[in-house]
């Protein structure tokens, strides 16, 4: 996080909240996005498009369940294809949310207050997308519940030595904790909405959801402790989740998977892609809902810096991987390197190096960091790059392993694409809905950032 703190000399950090705001204005501006703003055509149109894309996924999944995983490009030796690639990619994206809400909270990075709400929402939706794939990719999805240890008539249990079982526990825990974290953060704001709306029905709904929160100091005290504890627990959790995901590969003996570098390098990659997604969402949101006062250049720039930083950790990962392939002196590991550069999938590897390592370097330039348009493009580029990384790890490692006789190729089918792009539709659809029904920025936490609130702290 070092590069978050550092300030280039001579440059004035932009504020976290634009000047001239007080408790009231902050509350109104954010709440009105939901309560007062009329439904715009743009919003409807966007939601509709996402919905259509979602239908494509449903088509793919129906085909999948009717006919079997054979409708995908998977085969022997490449037993895992898009399903796992997308799973890892989505889970990774989710990580930024938790990082912002939990880790930055612990690090007292108060600027995170204005982006943590939708970052967490993003996490939830991303995890939802990710969570579908492990079930889809089963040969017999209707038996997915066998992965849970429940008292069954077989007197038989899941195999706790398998990384996939670890995955089940890690991902479900992660999903639950993220959801709770998000909801706890929402409670006071729901109370605010309860009072701000004039519609009776909304009053009831928000009122119930707010659980009757009444801003009592005693409640606040327990609330703060619980919130802090959640942050404290979510931090190791978020690190563990992608570590466990990386174990899916690192525990295997496939050349290109069996590496100790994977956990840190996966986590960094996750945050890398996660922040890219944050920016891809934040930039349009602050524009169209003119929340520029709260999601300021400061946030944009910091996120850009995080990308730059994690980008370099990832770069180190690649370098070290290649080095170990050579240094290990193992025939098969050595060939992994050779195959990535010269094999049939060399292009994807080159592309991922370009997208993940070369392009983001322009972020060294501050002008780019604070230029919404370019930053948006770079974020997209990183998202693509990180997807390619997962593709290379999963497919390119598998397609040529130990016995030459069993080498094969993987060609994604249209169902592969349908389901992948479909989840993108699902994700964005969720974001659209979220923007309409809930305060996209944590109102009460924003209040604490106002000067008048600051003053009380230093009595």
């Amino acid at each position: 996080m070092a590069d978050l703190m550092q300030v280039e000399p001579g440059e004035q950090k932009p504020p976290v909240i634009a000047p001239g705001h007080n408790y009231g204005t902050v509350t109104d501006k954010i709440a009105d996005v939901v309560l007062k703003k009329p439904v715009s055509l743009g919003w409807l149109g966007g939601l509709f498009v996402c919905f259509l894309i979602l239908q494509w996924m449903l088509y793919g999944v129906t085909l999948l369940f009717f006919k079997g995983v054979g409708v995908w490009g998977v085969n022997i030796p490449i037993g895992w294809g898009f399903a796992i690639v997308n799973f890892v990619w989505w889970i990774g994206i989710g990580h930024a949310g938790t990082l912002i809400s939990a880790i930055l909270l612990l690090l007292r990075q108060s600027w995170r207050n204005s982006i943590n709400r939708f970052a967490e929402a993003m996490t939830l939706f991303a995890v939802a997308c990710a969570g579908m794939y492990p079930i889809f990719h089963l040969g017999r999805p209707w038996l997915a519940y066998w992965l849970f240890p429940y008292p069954n008539t077989m007197g038989y249990w899941p195999n706790f030595r398998s990384p996939l079982v670890w995955d089940v526990f890690a991902v479900t825990t992660y999903g639950t904790i993220s959801l709770v974290f998000w909801f706890v953060g929402l409670i006071p704001d729901l109370a605010t909405m309860r009072e701000r709306t004039d519609k009776k029905i909304l009053k009831y709904i928000f009122g119930m959801a707010a659980l009757g929160w009444r801003f009592s100091a005693r409640h606040w005290s327990r609330y703060e402790t619980a919130y802090l504890l959640l942050a404290g627990l979510a931090t190791p959790l978020v690190l563990s989740v992608h570590t466990v995901v990386s174990f899916d590969f690192a525990v295997g003996i496939v050349p290109g998977w069996h590496t100790t570098i994977f956990p840190p390098y996966f986590v960094a990659g996750a945050i890398y892609s996660g922040f890219a997604m944050v920016l891809v969402l934040a930039i349009p949101i602050r524009k169209f809902y003119n929340l520029g006062d709260f999601i300021t250049e400061r946030h944009i720039e910091n996120s850009a810096m995080v990308m730059l930083g994690t980008g370099w950790i990832v770069a180190y990962g690649y370098a070290f991987e290649a080095f170990m392939n050579w240094y290990g002196g193992d025939v098969y590991e050595g060939f992994v390197r050779f195959n990535r550069f010269h094999g049939p999938y060399a292009l994807t590897y080159m592309a991922l190096l370009f997208f993940n390592l070369v392009v983001p370097q322009v972020l060294w330039i501050r002008k780019v960091r604070i230029n919404n348009f370019w930053l948006f493009l770079i974020s997209l580029d990183v998202l693509v790059g990180m997807w390619l990384e997962r593709f290379v790890i999963v497919v390119v490692s598998l397609h040529r392993d130990f016995l030459n006789s069993s080498w094969g190729m993987y060609y994604p089918t249209q169902v592969d694409w349908a389901i992948f792009i479909g989840t993108l539709g699902f994700f964005t659809a969720c974001i659209f809905l979220f923007m309409r029904v809930l305060p996209a920025i944590s109102i009460f936490e924003l209040r604490t950032l106002l000067p008048e609130a600051e003053s009380v702290k230093h009595e």
């Binding site: 009717f66 998977v74 030796p77 040969g139 992965l147 098969y332 016995l403």
Partner: protein
């Protein structure tokens, strides 16, 4: 003795579940078998007798027809779920439907439901018999095995006989008598033909012609003689597209009479093949030759043989040889002369050196060497081979001459020509075609079809309504050899009685019965024909004993041929011996030669509807479902064609477009095409697969000719190969997958075979202690020296373990299901490579990487060291396959097993679960057989299962070369333990510390020092 009951008519009637008009008790009893077996008969109706079943048996394309080939089955959602859930069983919130259970009314004595019976019989190809034992569950033959008591088989079999059980249950088999395209009946046919025979007998049958394939059946020979005596003017023709004309003509050249040649390879120190592929299932005596060859390839025995191959199109034989000289087929004759001492002909330096040292070797091993001419080499080469063997004094030692196995060694090509001539001349009123398909496979230049269509009455007797049947007035559905009585000769002359394992599924008739009708004895049954014939041969009171014994043993005592003294015909030898210096040259070296070969999997096309064989990877190219034109690397480069490109092949004025397969080791200016593909009416599996090359073939040059044109045309064609990458090189390294050494190196330091992993590579205490405690720990060795890549193990496994067929497109996706595969690797110069075969079943690793990663524990380790795969627990993450370094696990990406077609249900092995969609499967070391022995032993109250040598896995049992040995590694005296103790024993990828239970014996070659480097 069980065959008694077998003989009893009533059984043979009742046995068959498929019999239309009668749903009977034995049928029903199959039920019992099945309900306890793996299959899931939903209701009796589905099994037999009732409407649905009848319908299926009679519809031309039964329900689910397309499933064999389609990528995506057309079955409904519920069906899929139903089947899958059925697998999931009670634990998956499913309720088992009520299952009916149907007992006999009167139960035959020898039947113990749940226990299989074994019957001896024999399969015949081109007149040569493969002696068999057939496993039968409640009178349903399910598995073909070699007759281990029979001198020729010794338990070994070949792919064709192994796969024939699928042929029996093929739903595409002809099921009716057809007259002019309409369903008719045997009765009507008899009426018609008996009427016409009246006027034929007047003309002494001048208008009758019979066309059959080559046969060795003494009974049939006898019957045909009788028939010809009845109609002296009638003629009996024999033609098969792949025949032994050359061999017999060669024999006539040399000895003035047709004889069969047997080679005693166990006595041969030096083997020289002249374009001969004696390690190919189509070669008479293959099983015995493979075994004898392997016997002499043991580097530890001290008398390892050395093999030189002079051949054109690459073969397993050539690739197994120590030295291989790739030449065009036309040049073989010249080289043969040089071996015989002639100085004629021009040879390149390398070739000359090769020939010189071969000559030297032969001279050095007089009486213990053998020269084997190829079936498709011209008579002259055969004659030369006879001459050389004679000169070297090999005759009587390594070479033995006997009477011909086939009853009628006439020149089949001539025979066909005569027939066509007669047909053209309008002399033929009645043509009876039996078991052959001339409209598909006769040479182009005889224009068989035209002449054929001029014949007023054409009758076809065959298993399928094929191209020929289509053009016949009458088609009679023939009985499969597993349905009918008969007899046949193995290549050593021994006669086997062919006894039926099941009553004719579709009321078929055999040639015996047809002849019966023709000779005006309409009541004649095949059973009577055969038994009467042998009663004549073996008169006397003890016939019944003799008969039972022959049936039980699987062969008739005292019918084995004794070696025959043949004397050289001097005048013929004068031209073949050393002085000769002119040969039927192939013209300039630049002239392109085309070779015609029977397909390694579907032979001449007769097996093209056998999906097992279609999906069986060809030994060298690993192609499935297709034939391609083989072109050598050099020539391909010159032409600028790549594998899968389409080329046009023109020769003898005909042209065929087919895809290229670049075959390492193929000589330059020579191409090879394979017969039997491009069938138009074969059935679901065969129709439309591959390309028909018979149009290129002429009577003059049936096997090879020069002057072919090969031109690249636009477009490519999808070829589905199971092994895309056929070298051990990866990047700049060569992987130690197949470990090899020369005999010299091996003698110097037998431990050349380095890279033994450290004993304890783990932080964990392993299970070694427990494994040691167990009385049994299963293991396997595969001797790469013995393996000749014949693929037999693959089919045996497929049959034993109910392995599904997936079709060309799925194979191309890398989704074939074979539990054991035979990898082929080519190293070195692509034009003249070293090649190796490596069978790869599940390694049953002690530290199995697959088990560790399965989230539901569907694959675990048994206490006896088996890597168990529990299908019904599998949820299909495919993680185990990813983590399997040997990639021996196979996944049901769709519902590959056919759960509908009733015939297949009868075929399945009830002791092995039929896998459903979405589950992983793999080699189990035939755990069902292990269990059988365990239970047998434990019931007798002992812990000793005395399994060694008795308990065999399917692959081991079928292997003619004894390359695969399975057994108890905790017993120091077991065969497998001894082999594992050898220094050339190594574990594949054992540096991964997977500790495989299946290990390999490194391949040791025995090259001639002179020719090395």
């Amino acid at each position: 003795m069980m065959m008694e009951e077998q003989n009893g008519k009533p059984h043979k009637e009742d046995v068959c579940p498929g019999k239309k008009d009668k749903l009977n008790l034995e049928t029903a009893n199959a039920q019992i078998e099945e309900t306890k077996g793996p299959e899931f008969w939903r209701s009796l109706e589905e099994l037999a007798g009732s409407g649905e079943f009848q319908e299926m048996m009679h519809r031309e394309f039964p329900k689910g027809a397309s499933e064999w080939l389609d990528t995506v089955s057309r079955r409904g959602f519920m069906k899929l779920m139903g089947a899958s859930l059925a697998m999931a069983g009670m634990t998956a919130c499913t309720k088992q439907p009520l299952e009916p259970i149907v007992p006999y009314v009167k139960q035959p004595e020898e039947i113990v439901p749940g226990k299989p019976l074994f019957f001896a019989t024999a399969f015949t190809l081109g007149g040569y018999a493969a002696p068999l034992l057939v496993e039968s569950h409640l009178y349903r033959p399910t598995k073909i095995e070699g007759n281990d008591k029979h001198p020729v088989s010794l338990g070994g079999t070949d792919v064709f006989s192994q796969a024939s059980v699928l042929g029996l249950y093929d739903p595409d088999r002809s099921q009716n008598v057809i007259h002019l395209g309409n369903v008719s009946s045997w009765g009507q046919f008899k009426e018609v033909i008996l009427a016409t025979l009246k006027d034929q007998s007047a003309s002494q049958g001048a208008g009758i012609r019979v066309l059959t394939g080559a046969f060795s059946s003494p009974a049939l020979a006898d019957q045909s003689q009788a028939f010809l005596k009845l109609y002296p003017q009638a003629k009996w023709h024999v033609y098969e597209p792949v025949n032994r004309d050359n061999a017999y003509e060669g024999a006539k050249l040399a000895f003035g009479q047709p004889v069969d040649t047997q080679y005693q390879l166990e006595n041969a120190d030096v083997i020289v093949t002249l374009d001969a592929d004696f390690l190919y299932a189509g070669f008479p005596g293959f099983t015995k030759y493979a075994r004898d060859y392997a016997k002499r390839r043991d580097p530890d025995s001290g008398n390892m043989s050395r093999m030189y191959a002079i051949e054109s199109s690459p073969t397993s034989t050539g690739l197994k040889s120590d030295h291989r000289l790739p030449v065009r087929a036309v040049d073989v004759e010249m080289i043969a002369c040089q071996l015989a001492g002639s100085s004629g002909g021009s040879l390149s330096g390398a070739q000359a050196k090769f020939v010189a040292s071969v000559v030297k070797e032969l001279q050095a091993h007089r009486g213990s060497s053998v020269v084997i001419p190829g079936e498709h080499q011209p008579p002259a080469v055969h004659a030369l081979a006879h001459a050389i063997n004679a000169q070297l004094g090999n005759v009587g030692k390594t070479v033995v001459y006997t009477d011909t196995v086939v009853a009628n060694p006439a020149n089949q090509t001539e025979s066909l020509k005569d027939l066509v001539a007669d047909m053209k001349a309008g002399k033929v009123q009645w043509l009876i075609v039996s078991g052959v398909n001339p409209l598909f496979d006769s040479p182009a230049d005889v224009n068989f079809a035209d002449a054929f269509n001029g014949v007023p009455n054409r009758v076809h007797l065959g298993l399928y309504q094929d191209e020929t049947a289509e053009q016949c007035h009458w088609h009679i559905n023939e009985t499969h050899y597993l349905e009918s009585w008969g007899d046949t000769r193995a290549f050593d002359g021994t006669v086997s009685i062919v006894q039926p394992l099941i009553a004719p599924l579709y009321d078929g008739k055999s040639l015996h019965e047809l002849l019966g009708v023709l000779s005006d004895d309409a009541q004649l049954s095949a059973y009577n024909v055969v038994q009467d014939y042998w009663r004549k041969q073996h008169p006397g009171s003890d016939f019944d004993l003799f008969w039972r014994r022959s049936l039980h043993d699987g062969w008739v005592q005292g019918t084995t041929y004794t070696p025959k003294q043949v004397s050289a015909k001097s005048e013929n030898f004068s031209q073949t011996t050393t002085t000769r210096s002119t040969f039927s040259s192939g013209g300039p070296a630049s002239a392109i030669e085309i070779n015609f070969r029977p397909d390694p999997s579907i032979y001449d096309g007769r097996f093209s509807n056998n999906a097992w064989l279609q999906e069986l990877p060809k030994p060298l190219s690993k192609l499935t479902w297709d034939n391609a034109v083989w072109i050598g690397p050099v020539m391909a480069e010159r032409m600028g064609v790549a594998t899968k490109d389409l080329v046009r092949v023109e020769v003898n004025g005909a042209k065929v477009d087919l895809p290229v397969w670049i075959q390492a080791g193929h000589p330059d200016n020579s191409i090879t095409v394979f017969l039997g593909y491009g069938r138009k009416r074969a059935g679901r599996a065969g129709t439309g697969a591959g390309f028909d090359v018979y149009p290129l073939r002429t009577t003059a040059t049936p096997y090879f000719t020069t002057g072919a044109q090969v031109t690249k045309i636009s477009g490519t064609y999808l070829l589905a190969s199971t092994q895309g990458y056929q070298t051990m090189d990866a990047g700049d390294e060569t992987r130690p997958i197949v470990r090899t050494a020369t005999l010299e190196e091996y003698k110097q330091h037998a431990d050349f075979n380095e890279e033994k992993p450290p004993a304890e590579l783990t932080l964990y205490p392993g299970f070694d202690a427990q494994y040691k405690k167990e009385p049994y720990a299963w293991g396997m060795t595969i001797d790469l020296n013995s393996c000749v890549g014949c693929n037999n193990c693959i089919i045996a496994c497929q049959s034993e373990n109910n392995i599904a067929v997936v079709g060309k497109e799925q194979v191309n996706h890398g989704r074939h299901m074979h539990w054991i595969r035979v990898d082929a690797y080519y190293q070195g110069d692509r034009s003249d490579p070293q090649a190796y075969f490596q069978p790869v079943p599940c390694m049953q690793c002690e530290n199995a990487p697959c088990e560790l990663v399965c989230p539901v524990g569907a694959t675990t380790h048994s206490t006896e060291g088996l890597n168990d795969m529990v299908y019904n627990r599998c949820v299909g993450t495919r993680y185990c396959s990813n983590n399997c370094p040997y990639k021996v696990r196979r996944f049901n990406f769709f519902l590959f097993s056919d759960w509908d077609t009733p015939q297949y249900k009868m075929m399945r092995n009830p002791d092995v679960t039929v896998r459903s969609r979405g589950v992983m499967e793999k080699c189990t070391y035939c755990v069902q057989r292990i269990s059988e022995y365990r239970i047998k032993a434990e019931e007798s109250g002992t812990t000793d299962r005395n399994t060694d040598g008795d308990l065999k896995t399917a692959c081991q049992q079928s292997c003619p070369a004894n390359a695969i040995i399975f057994g108890n590694i905790n017993d120091a005296n077991s065969q497998v333990s001894k082999l594992k103790a050898k220094q050339r024993n190594y574990g594949l990828l054992d540096d991964l510390n997977t500790r495989p239970r299946t290990t390999y014996l490194a391949e040791i070659r025995n090259p001639n020092p002179e020719l090395q480097g």
